[in-house]
Amino acid sequence: MSELRANLIKTDGGESRLSMNDEWIIVRLPAVQEEVKKQAGKVVQFKLTNAESATAAQTADTQVPAGKVLLPLSVWLARKAEFSARVAAGEIGVWLETHELVETLFESQPDLNVFPVIGVYIERFPDGRAYSTASLLRTRFGFHNELRAFGDVLRDQLFFLNRCGFSAFEVRADRSAEEALASFKDFSEPYQAAVVVDQPLWRRHARV
């Protein structure tokens, strides 16, 4: 079963374009009633880094369809043995929640390039942890396949997400990915080294 996503952008060698024939299905945990946490009268919006993501019952109850699937990290960790043939067939990817650690995935699977896609769910766009997750995947854990951001992915963060190593962007459904394409060209010559453009300006050009 393939799902047509008109809102997916992929970058390749500095070019960004809409991707119309995406085969990957993002598998989600079954919903549970979660207690709403409050502090100083405000709803707590951000989970602490490395906080518990799912219960054993949730990971066990998660339905995984046939075809190319992106599994929640918690499902992958709890049930990886059952997916070995599908990993070999290139049908399995994993996605991390914003607060989950890339190190946890790496410990379970030292060669991350068995996954054609790794996803990072951006629960709320002002949470910049995904930027470090992406940078680490690219520079420390050697991941060179597709790195996809999905969730609260908006045009005005795409330039930064891309520079941190994301190569696919599922723009939030109520926004136009086509219009968002322009943002990849917001800045032509960044100052500092990052994942994309990996040398600082002063090493790339002779400056006065």
Partner: protein
């Protein structure tokens, strides 16, 4: 000073275009308030009580005369003919119209200025000593590394959305004037035994609702690693800093929670991967940036000037001004001059468009066309000839810029407070004015001597009240404005946080309370002892006893907040 090359120009131009597009999309309803908020904040635009407020970056407090004229022009054309110099060496406009902000940015870009990252949860303007490059006690000019840090932090993709704001200050003197211990990262540059340039790095300092002085995380970082080491600190913070509670999201809370030993261990483990990476600095790059800060064409002058000596001896008003507003300089025959933005009755740090133009003219005529902004919210001409001081003083006095109160009780650090800021619990400007009026007699001010009063309108502490010799904090009690008073705070190498003396006061009581504190000091001081020294020697008790002597618990005018 630093001059933009084609790349700097391009980045700032591209930023203007990006922000113009974002503003248009917001006005067209394509961006929600929540989506636009971080975008406008990273461009220094707050939505305030009466109008938006725009904060313009003045990197490490350095301005050219053409830039100051442009700031004056913007105040005239887009605002109410004045602007406010802030405690982080920036400039704030209190009345810009949101749709016109892109035009203001265009004006700024034309003089190599911007409002990038002057607010929001990102790396803010890098601040330093206002006497950088001219101070006799300077070991290393901090400005080249400040500029290198500015470029590195500008639109750093990984650190664009941190848990909370992040402030870096740098200093190159043994006698710290950049309050490095009060910053998320503080750096002191110094020379090691073999003359190598090293950096002492503090982390986790900050004021706000949980005031903490920074702790030393590395006492001898070779300068080449300044950026990669910052990246290791920032990545550790970006991943592990709390985002569930904005009051606990600053790096100081993470450092306290882990302890400095464990935090250092994590940073060092992270740094092992960054060290010697692409952002490692080279001597050639440092030299390239440093030549922008080469000393101006100083004349070869005698150490003294007969005309100056004569005026000093015969004009008491001039002598008073020299005593407070003129500072030592490393080059013979030159002095640095502070132009006070603290005359009684004017909000501390405010300057009119005309005053900004006048200061720009002073800079052209007397000081190599450069101006500095201090975190004490005054303007500095760093390179004035001794023989020019008298003429400068006469015109500065006529323009209301020569109040001889630098470092005295009326040189108050003060945030905009409840008159403008939507975060404030209480007004701060009228409190400053009441204190200035209480101590308006100049001879009395000089007799009281070195004194720093810092006033914040809320616990965000923009007025740095924790490190004031006397600190005043506006608090809200059942919807009315009260003021908590602390004593014993200090900035500098021997920095300390003040202690609250007791229950809060109503607005009209604060100046009287300060008077009683001063009375205790004047009666108790030993020869040569400053207010802060007396407080440190005697403790809070005698001051508290005097202030509360005629107050009974439960009396109306004392609020228990």
């Amino acid at each position: 000073m630093y001059k933009y090359d084609e790349y700097d120009t391009r980045i700032v131009r591209e930023r203007v275009a990006q922000y113009r597009d974002q503003t248009l999309r917001y006005l067209a309803g394509e961006l929600s308030d929540d989506e636009f908020r971080p975008l406008r904040l990273q461009n220094g635009l707050y939505i305030q009580r009466l109008a938006p407020m725009l904060r313009v970056a003045i990197p490490y407090g350095l301005l050219g005369s053409n830039q100051l004229r442009k700031l004056a022009h913007i105040a005239r054309e887009y605002d109410h003919d004045y602007a406010h110099f802030s405690t982080r060496q920036n400039l704030q406009y209190n009345w810009p119209e949101l749709p016109r902000v892109p035009d203001i940015l265009e004006e700024l870009a034309s003089v190599e200025m911007h409002a990038i990252q002057t607010s929001g949860n990102c790396i803010r303007n890098i601040t330093t000593d206002q006497f950088a490059g001219v101070a006799p006690d300077e070991v290393v000019d901090p400005r080249p590394l400040a500029e290198i840090l500015r470029q590195w932090s500008t639109f750093h993709p990984e650190f664009a959305l941190l848990p909370r704001k992040f402030k870096i200050a740098v200093s190159g003197t043994t006698n710290d004037r950049a309050v490095v211990q009060m910053h998320d990262i503080g750096m002191e540059f110094y020379r090691g035994s073999d003359n190598a340039l090293l950096i002492k790095v503090w982390v986790g300092g900050g004021l706000g609702r949980t005031p903490i002085l920074g702790e030393v995380i590395n006492d001898a970082l070779p300068w080449q690693h300044a950026l990669t080491y910052c990246e290791a600190i920032l990545r550790t913070y970006n991943r592990w800093g709390r985002r569930d509670n904005s009051y606990k999201a600053r790096i100081k809370i993470l450092v306290k929670a882990l302890g400095i030993e464990e935090f250092r261990r994590q940073v060092d483990a992270e740094w092992a991967h960054h060290k010697d990476g692409a952002n490692t600095l080279t001597q050639a790059e440092l030299a390239r940036v440093a030549k922008h800060f080469d000393a101006p064409a100083y004349e070869s002058l005698d150490a003294g000037d007969a005309g100056f000596d004569e005026k000093l001896a015969n004009d008491k008003a001039f002598a008073n001004w020299v005593k407070r507003c003129v500072h030592a300089h490393k080059v013979p025959g030159y002095r640095a001059v502070t132009l006070s933005l603290k005359p009684t009755g004017i909000a501390p740090g405010d300057a009119t468009s005309d005053q900004m133009d006048i200061v720009a003219n002073f800079a052209d005529q007397y000081s190599f066309s450069e101006i500095r902004v201090s975190h004490e919210q005054n303007l500095i001409l760093a390179d004035v000839k001794l023989g020019d001081l008298y003429a400068l003083w006469q015109t500065a006095r006529a323009a209301g810029l020569a109040t001889p109160n630098i470092g005295l009780i009326t040189d108050i650090i003060c945030c905009p407070g409840g008159d403008f800021c939507s975060l404030a619990n209480a007004k701060s400007i009228p409190i400053a004015e009441a204190i200035q009026r209480q101590f308006d007699d100049l001879d009395y001010q000089h007799d009281i001597g070195e004194m720093e009063i810092n006033i914040s309108g809320c616990m965000n502490a923009c007025g740095h009240h924790h490190v004031g010799h006397i600190g005043v904090l506006g608090v809200d009690k059942d919807g009315s404005e009260w003021y908590q008073v602390s004593i014993g705070g200090k900035q500098g190498n021997d920095a300390s946080l003040g202690s609250v003396i007791g229950p809060s006061f109503a607005a009209d009581e604060v100046a009287g309370v300060v008077q009683r504190l001063i009375d205790v000091y004047v009666e108790s001081r030993t020869l040569e002892e400053r207010f802060i020294d007396t407080v440190r020697r005697l403790g809070v008790a005698p001051f508290k006893a005097r202030v509360y002597a005629d107050r009974q618990p439960g009396k109306r005018e004392v609020a228990n907040v």
